[in-house]
Symmetry: C3
Subunit: 203 residues, 3 copies
């Protein structure tokens, strides 16, 4: 396996773990049982990538392997067994920022590799990063990331847009992946650190 493919695979598993943990934390906040922890971890961890794979007609990435769901179950167990306070601070927020950048970069790259047109490939990157968390929030009855003013989907859009833009211009491969990931992570990180948001619509 070439280094780029390996990097993408590592990004992929890391994002599943981070999003899985964020799903389990949503269950922890509402004091659910271990089965619901696992359900939330799985939905949040694989939700976005599942929709992407269905749309681009790829085999759904976690169906032919045990590893992906076991990572989600492991993340659920970790959150269950440790104190929720471990995760309550900034640490998870930063891991989640990395997951966001990784998933939007990876999702857009995978869509392009499957011959998807540039604009929908960009949308696939955003979706891969955001849809798992949106489903988690809808199921938990919380206002979703979409509804919050903070700059979240925008960071995914920046990463996916850069990956697609650079690839279309002929700078695919390592350069596009590194720049897209760095830009998405940097923007989301700055938003976390400084509380940035986009201007809201005004009548």
């Amino acid at each position: 396996m070439d280094p780029l493919a390996t990097t993408l695979m590592v990004l992929d598993y890391a994002a599943v773990a981070v999003f899985g943990a964020s799903g389990a934390l949503a269950a922890a906040r509402r004091k659910h049982d271990i089965i619901t922890f696992g359900f939330f971890a799985a939905i949040t961890g694989v939700g976005g990538g599942t929709l992407r794979d269905l749309l681009i007609e790829a085999p759904v990435f976690w169906v032919r392997t045990n590893a992906t769901l076991l990572i989600c179950i492991g993340a659920a167990l970790l959150v269950w067994l440790t104190s929720r306070r471990w995760f309550a601070g900034q640490a998870l927020l930063w891991f989640d920022a990395a997951g966001l950048a990784a998933y939007s970069t990876y999702g857009a790259a995978k869509a392009l590799a499957f011959g998807v047109a540039p604009v929908p490939a960009f949308a696939m990157g955003v979706m891969t990063a955001c849809v798992g968390g949106i489903i988690r929030d809808v199921l938990a009855g919380e206002p979703s990331i979409l509804m919050r003013p903070e700059l979240y989907v925008t960071a995914a859009a920046l990463a996916a847009g850069l990956l697609v833009g650079l690839s279309v211009l002929g700078f695919g491969g390592w350069i596009a992946v590194a720049l897209a990931f760095a830009a998405g992570f940097g923007l989301r990180g700055t938003a976390i650190a400084r509380g940035w948001s986009l201007p809201a619509y005004r009548d």
Copy 2:
């Protein structure tokens, strides 16, 4: 391309634009940023047709072309740049009625063309017209069209039912498309003008 196919394609793009605008308006009502406008426009514009295509094993209609999502993004920008009051009155309601009739007719016709059985083809028509708006309402935390007493899903059911019924009876093509669209639009329009609804369940 024959005229019937062209008509169906125009219906399709027009419905995407109208539903996209209604998605952006949901974002405007809650004063979101431009990224969320785009997200809502895309989900509302293509949500129903996406589910239909996945279910009938057709390639998802917006994945191999840039045009469809660009229409959604254009609708989002239009709503963002103009005053929301432009859209607040009856005009959008009537455009939405046309989109509803177009999508339910088109969705049922496409399902039949893919060899789907009549009852599920009818369901595909209803879904194509209604699922995008339902996802929009769930994400926005508003009671969905399903939950409101007004006659909305019923108009989609009339259009899809007529298209399928006439096709099964051998009156496919133009006649079925024109009658189904007219009936669906007429019923929804009357409901808007007169506040019609179906009788509710009583214990």
Copy 3:
């Protein structure tokens, strides 16, 4: 058709009918019209199996036949025409328990038959049984089964886990189906009768 396949098919249709009725009842509780009854019956009856079939790349089970949706429509009409009080007591709860056990067993078995790996096959069983009801609850704006403390998803997990575990160990076929169904139904039944639940997460 061999007896095992026939049994699985009967389980499948029975679960569609029971879940369809539970969907229609959600519409009845909120006093909706007959169209919304049908919509809820269909979504609840086929929602979980639809997601399973999309994920395992099987043709979606209700798309090439009229029978499945007609069962849902029949269930909606039955609830509409009879008094809701018929269904308000324990009877539906027990039918639903049977549907839950049937769907989780059947879903896991179908996934294995399509070559899905064991852990995702287990997840497919749980999903088949629970996702229809979850969508129903989200659309109705009620807290979903996931959010309630009672032992529901756990019973599906037991049935799906037994089916997959026994099959992996070489005890597939009748034995696995019978044991998995009995265990899932037994656990859910005990939970109904005694109000059992799993321990909740504590900080």
